[in-house]
């Protein structure tokens, strides 16, 4: 009897020991926090691409790396709290998607490294970092060059619509685009721009209806809210007979005529590179701020057909993806 109790005690002891070892191992897996202003999506191609790139560097989610994602569901004011939450979890670094997430992460910590991606402004001109070679502070990342591409985007639109002279610029206050870049590009291409503020989803229809017939094309500036309502906006634009181009591939998938956007695979590969280097002990200051070099043109032929737009050869030739 005593023998049995002893054996049982030993068994329980071993079990407890095994559990504690497992718990320690789980704790030692580095956690990467991801802060996003948008809403969760399923499937999540951006995250899947980053995980894919990390796999090629020898990282497997749940084995030797763990991700904690926090979404603000477009409520930018929630970001600081979410950033604090990640800091309290003792994450090894924070991947901040978009400028709003970056600002919240910077508020939350000055020591945990921050990788900012989808950052739309020149980081030096915006005062984020002192130099690209040695960013300084705890921030490094990838500049998406969105503002720089303003001219290229208008050019692609003009090439697609030869009679284009009046262009609507659809934006909301969170777009934070530099209008000066757009104005200059518009002037260079001989286009008149008309800025249309899409504040409230309920007013989208009215705002787009107002420009019906007054412009021959539209360009949509990115914002988290406009991203979430992309399908609605694309449908409204088609109904208004308005060829609309946009910034992200998802917009073209949702029905915008075309998009010219940073290559997701490239962004994912560079993000994985930053994560790998930081996990291996590099300091953010030693990791130069990078910028996107590859951009993908996506054309939605269904929308083109619905609008009666003939896509010229020069556009089809450079299109990386054609949605039929």
């Amino acid at each position: 009897m005593i023998q049995r109790i002893r054996r049982l005690a030993l068994g329980v002891h071993l079990l407890l020991w095994w559990v504690s070892v497992q718990a320690q191992e789980a704790n030692s897996v580095p956690i990467v926090g991801v802060l996003r202003a948008s809403s969760p999506v399923q499937p999540d191609p951006a995250m899947a691409a980053i995980l894919g790139s990390l796999r090629s560097l020898g990282y497997t989610e749940g084995v030797n790396i763990r991700f904690e994602q926090r979404f603000a569901d477009r409520h930018v004011e929630r970001l600081p709290q979410l950033a604090d939450e990640l800091v309290r979890m003792n994450v090894k670094m924070i991947v901040a998607v978009n400028e709003a997430s970056l600002l919240a992460a910077k508020q939350a910590t000055t020591t945990i490294p921050i990788i900012v991606i989808a950052y739309d402004h020149d980081p030096v001109a915006a005062g984020l970092i002192g130099s690209r070679t040695r960013p300084g502070g705890n921030v490094t990342g990838i500049y998406s060059r969105q503002t720089e591409l303003a001219g290229k985007r208008l050019e692609v639109l003009k090439e697609t619509l030869p009679g284009l002279s009046q262009v609507a610029v659809l934006y909301d206050a969170a777009s934070r685009h530099a209008p000066a870049d757009l104005e200059a590009a518009g002037k260079q291409l001989g286009l008149q721009l008309r800025f249309v503020d899409l504040k409230n989803p309920k007013e989208y229809a009215g705002a787009i209806d107002q420009i019906r017939g007054k412009v021959q094309g539209a360009t949509l500036l990115f914002s988290p809210a406009l991203f979430d309502y992309r399908a609605k906006i694309a449908t409204l634009a088609i109904e208004a007979g308005l060829p609309m181009r946009s910034q992200g591939r998802e917009f073209a998938v949702a029905g915008a005529l075309m998009s010219y956007a940073p290559d997701r695979e490239e962004v994912a590969a560079r993000t994985a590179y930053f994560i790998d280097r930081l996990l291996r002990g590099a300091k953010p200051v030693d990791l130069p701020f990078e910028e996107g070099t590859r951009f993908k043109l996506t054309v939605n032929m269904k929308t083109a057909k619905a609008l009666g737009v003939k896509i010229p050869e020069s556009i089809l030739l450079r299109a990386d993806e054609v949605i039929r």
Binding site: D122, V124, S131, R132, T133, R134, R145, E148, L149, G151, K152, L154, E155, A185, Q188, L189, Y273, D286, L287, P288, F289, E290, E291, T293, R294, F295, E313, S314, L317, R318, D320
Partner: protein, 344 residues
């Protein structure tokens, strides 16, 4: 007299046997050091060659894609600018590393610039006739500019190609070199080794630590780079093993391969401690073997000398007795050799 004979034979015998052992041990260590070094250098050079070939292919591909645009003539036999633009768009599509293509007419004036980022420019007429991009390309068919950094952080090189004909111009591609960084960063060399690329002047172009590249680090003073600059670039020749130093002054075993069209070199360095780790193990084995051999040979020589000296001692004692007049006795020596004959 007894000790004299013993020492006289045992000491030289010991020296003879152990000397041979020690010398053979040292020779073995020396040759295995050389062979090990040569084998490692071969492996390292093969890695360097693989990286060099990949980088060369990358550059050749850009060159190849540019070549057929460059051959398009200008003037009356030429094609309209629209067609050139389509060709350029096709090029941008096929070669993701090229961000901008510009077309110079035979007089060196820019007629078209097509970019991924900026608005395309038609007929700027900008004069490049005195620019090395134009002059070097006309003179040597192909021109590779020094590596430069856009906005301090993006590595770029200008590749210019002339059509080679009277009515052809020059095509210029601004080429992003991050691909080369990726090739170098992906190289696995042992645990502490790494690959890097330097240009003809010894300036760092690619290194796993990108901040070193962006600081435009000059490596021309490093021993392995000086040695490579003067080494024959014949790949079939013997591997030149160089022990050089890294930027922190630690010794490294270094091998290189040239990237022919560019005059650049790929180096693969391995910390000497890691490179020679297997050698240290084998050196220890050799030392232990020599010590064991010394022990055995010492004992063996003692036994041998004793076997020789003992019957001599008996003979000596017998001879002394003979000398004292004791002629009846026999001298018992059972060695079965000349000494026994002497006793009998």
């Amino acid at each position: 007299m007894r000790r004299g004979l013993f020492l006289k034979y045992s000491v030289p015998l010991l020296f003879l046997v152990s000397g041979a052992l020690v010398i053979s041990g040292l020779v073995q260590i020396y040759f295995s050091y050389q062979e090990n070094k040569a084998a490692l250098a071969r492996i390292q050079r093969e890695k360097a060659v693989i990286a060099a070939v990949r980088i060369e292919q990358f550059v050749r591909e850009v060159e190849h894609q540019l070549a057929w645009i460059a051959q398009t003539p200008w003037g009356s036999r030429g094609v309209p600018l629209d067609q050139r633009r389509l060709d350029s768009l096709r090029l941008l599509r096929h070669v993701p590393s090229v961000t901008e293509v510009s077309h110079l007419d035979p007089s060196g004036h820019e007629q078209l610039r097509v970019s991924r980022l900026a608005i395309d420019v038609v007929g700027s007429g900008q004069d490049f006739s005195n620019d090395p991009k134009f002059k070097q390309a006309i003179a040597h068919k192909t021109y590779f500019s020094p590596v430069y950094f856009r906005k301090e952080s993006e590595p770029y090189m200008t590749i210019a190609l002339s059509g080679g004909g009277e009515d052809t111009g020059v095509v210029i591609a601004e080429t992003n070199l991050k691909f080369i960084w990726d090739v170098v960063a992906a190289m696995k060399v042992g645990t502490g080794g790494y690959a890097y690329v330097v240009d003809a002047q010894g300036r760092l172009i690619a290194h796993p630590d990108i901040s070193l590249v962006l600081q435009k680090t000059d490596l021309s003073a490093l021993q392995q780079i000086r040695a490579a600059a003067s080494a024959p670039t014949d790949e079939s020749g013997p591997v030149h093993v160089v022990v050089g130093t890294d930027l922190k002054g630690h010794e490294v075993l270094s091998a290189f391969a040239p990237i022919a069209p560019l005059g650049w070199m790929v180096f693969v360095d391995l910390p000497i401690g890691e490179a020679l780790a297997p050698l240290y193990a084998s050196a220890w084995r050799t030392i232990v073997l020599v010590l064991v051999g010394l022990g055995i040979s010492g004992i063996a020589s003692l036994v041998l000398v004793r076997r020789m000296v003992t019957p001599i001692k008996v003979l000596q004692a017998g001879a002394a007795r003979l000398g004292a007049g004791d002629l009846d006795q026999r001298i018992e020596v059972k060695t079965g050799d000349e000494l026994q004959a002497l006793g009998d």
